[in-house]
Symmetry: C2
Subunit: 372 residues, 2 copies
């Protein structure tokens, strides 16, 4: 049985101004920690003051990168309850990543209960201004101090939270994307469909180059043929070709984004044709040339929808929709953020609300218990 | 200017018995730490008591795996000086890994001086029994506490050391290797030629499967054609085909092993034909079929030479040299370990000796100074 204990901070931090939030710079007063040891399994779920972690320098995470993570958000409006967007999907995906990285399965309901307790404990940290949210980062690291290359016998699961500002300072606007021809992020048979640290390390160099070229993100091509479109930095990608919305199929080397899945469901709900299939950069260049490439956008938890105004491919600039936000991108953005904030009806049951008043009684006593 | 300061441990650990050493389980009394901050560069090189490191849970290494490492060994014989095998090669490779992972360049001579000082400080930890050595693990981790996906502005370089036992309890003997057909370790354009954590995380699952099938390691095939031989777990791989020694060329997705380079030099020195080229698993199966596959072996710092007695490929067992250690494998092992231990002449200038007597005077005073 796993009870979640709470140790409250006696030294609360000053909260930043909304205008200073940015992304992932400030952390709330508390965090969740859960330990794993091969001999006892996951144990000692707790909400504790946000604190440094102390590890042996031989801890496996430092040497062999055995780690997975997730990213999701909690939203607050002036009068509404706290709202979480499809949080179970994140813990399900965390376990799929765990499976790939040989990390032991985590009880998803326990993780969700711990997250709820953490959010209620730090509810004053959730910003409510337009475009703001509380970014939530669950993650697992291998902590065993041993240099043999094999799965760790010890892990820590943690959740930290960061109030984040509006992704779009002046309303949704298009980005420039660099189509990468030299570097590869992931390949079939690798770990590209897991949310694990190494995938992001592998992308840093290309991201730096893209920035130098004036683009804000990298569009990855597949590592085998070097021509099929994969995904963008931390987003999946969609193209509107003559009214049909096309996105790369889940092929084993891209992340199955929860925003991606939500967009596909919304499009189907609206009877807009959507295709998940292999999509080459040549097809995009051709569609651009003959005028059938109407719109392009990225999807992910951070920006929700990120319209693409330009692709930079082998030195050529492909302007899309005159570099402006497309109609469908705007509609999807409004609807999805509306569902997240509670201003648009949620026909899919995607929102999990936390009653803020529960918070008053937050204590170790009303923390729920779970089978491990 | 960078002086290396020393803080000696007042609480020395008990040294393990030679029979208990294993690999990477015990750590010496001291470690090296060097900090990096974007505003001051690398600074404060120090030898300090082996100690836990304390990091913010948002430190980039936990989330985005921005980290590199190295592995080398120091050897001691009963009467000889302390011997390091080609240590500059490791710090050069560390910097090539740094370049790929967007980690700032490290002064290789400073790193080497810090290592020497550490070894002299912990010289009593170097085992001298047959087959034993002191394994040295330099590594760098990204420590900035920020969730944006971009290179860290802060890092820690560390060196930890572990006395390790003989890789071969009863003399050199062949291993069984599983040729992987499902999972891929790395692909051209990725980070396969860098010594970075994510590559090892990506290999854990395949390694677990190989172990279940009775093999001790995985032989990786390339991620594009899924047929060209890459490398083995933490070793490069060589095949003796009718007297010509063939090893995969450095193609961007495998590590340029220092043992691999040493073996190639040794073979050339002996006028044995050696080829670095693309080598498919089909060619190996054919050579096995027609009797021209004479020997196969892996090369790496840990085992030096690891003869391969059997390949398991798509359910077929390919026995090599009757599952016994080949003539050339044995000769290479004897010569390379002989050079390392000082019992065989070193015609290449590979050995850097540390005069044990220097140790008597180890102090912050005689630590050398360096430009940063
Ligand atoms: C590599 C990658 N692709 C896609 C996404 C989008 O996934 P989601 O919509 O679940 O945020 C993310 C970010 O989470 C990501 O890191
Ligand atoms: C992936 C990989 N390949 C090859 C090697 C062999 O390299 P070296 O001979 O420098 O130890 C290692 C180990 O260091 C390794 O980790």
């Amino acid at each position: 049985m796993n009870a979640i204990r709470i140790e409250l901070s006696t030294n609360k931090k000053q909260k930043p101004e909304v205008s200073e939030l940015g992304f992932g710079k400030y952390y709330t007063d508390h965090m969740v920690i859960l330990d794993y040891d091969a001999s006892i399994g996951w144990h000692d779920a707790r909400v504790v003051p946000y604190q440094p972690i102390t590890l042996d320098p031989a801890a496996k995470v430092f040497h062999y990168g055995q780690t997975v993570f997730e990213g999701l958000k909690a939203y607050l409006t002036a009068d509404g309850p706290i709202r979480l967007f499809r949080p179970r999907k994140n813990f399900e995906r965390l376990n799929r990543s765990n499976e790939r990285l040989s990390i032991p399965h985590l009880d998803e309901e326990l993780a969700l209960e711990a997250l709820k307790l953490l959010i209620l404990t730090d509810r004053e940290w959730i910003p409510s201004a337009e475009g703001t949210s509380l970014y939530i980062r669950p993650f697992i690291i291998a902590t065993e101090a041993a240099l043999g290359v094999n799965p760790s016998t010890q892990y820590k699961f943690m959740i930290i939270m960061s109030p984040v500002g509006s992704y779009y300072a002046e309303g949704i606007h298009p980005v420039k994307i660099f189509v990468e021809s030299e570097y590869v992020r992931a390949v079939k048979g690798g770990v590209g469909n897991a949310k694990t640290a190494g995938n992001y390390a592998a992308g840093l160099k290309a991201q730096e180059n893209a920035t130098k070229q004036g683009s804000s993100q990298v569009l990855w091509l597949d590592g085998v043929h070097r021509k099929y479109i994969e995904e963008v930095g931390s987003m999946n990608v969609f193209f509107n070709i003559n009214g049909t919305i096309v996105t790369p199929a889940l092929n084993g080397s891209i992340l199955d984004g929860i925003t991606r899945d939500s967009i596909i469901q919304l499009l189907k709900h609206w009877n807009i044709p959507v295709e998940e299939r292999a999509l080459s950069i040549d097809e995009i260049v051709e569609a651009h040339g003959n005028g059938s490439l109407v719109e392009a956008f990225g999807t992910g938890t951070a920006a929700v929808i990120s319209p693409i105004g330009e692709l930079l491919w082998l030195g050529h600039k492909l302007s899309i929709n005159n570099g402006e936000t497309g109609e469908l991108s705007a509609k999807l953005y409004d609807n999805l953020t509306g569902i997240q904030k509670g201003t648009v009806e949620d026909p899919f049951g995607w929102i999990l609300t936390l009653d803020d008043r529960e918070a008053t009684g937050v204590s170790a006593v009303n923390a729920q218990s779970h089978k491990s």
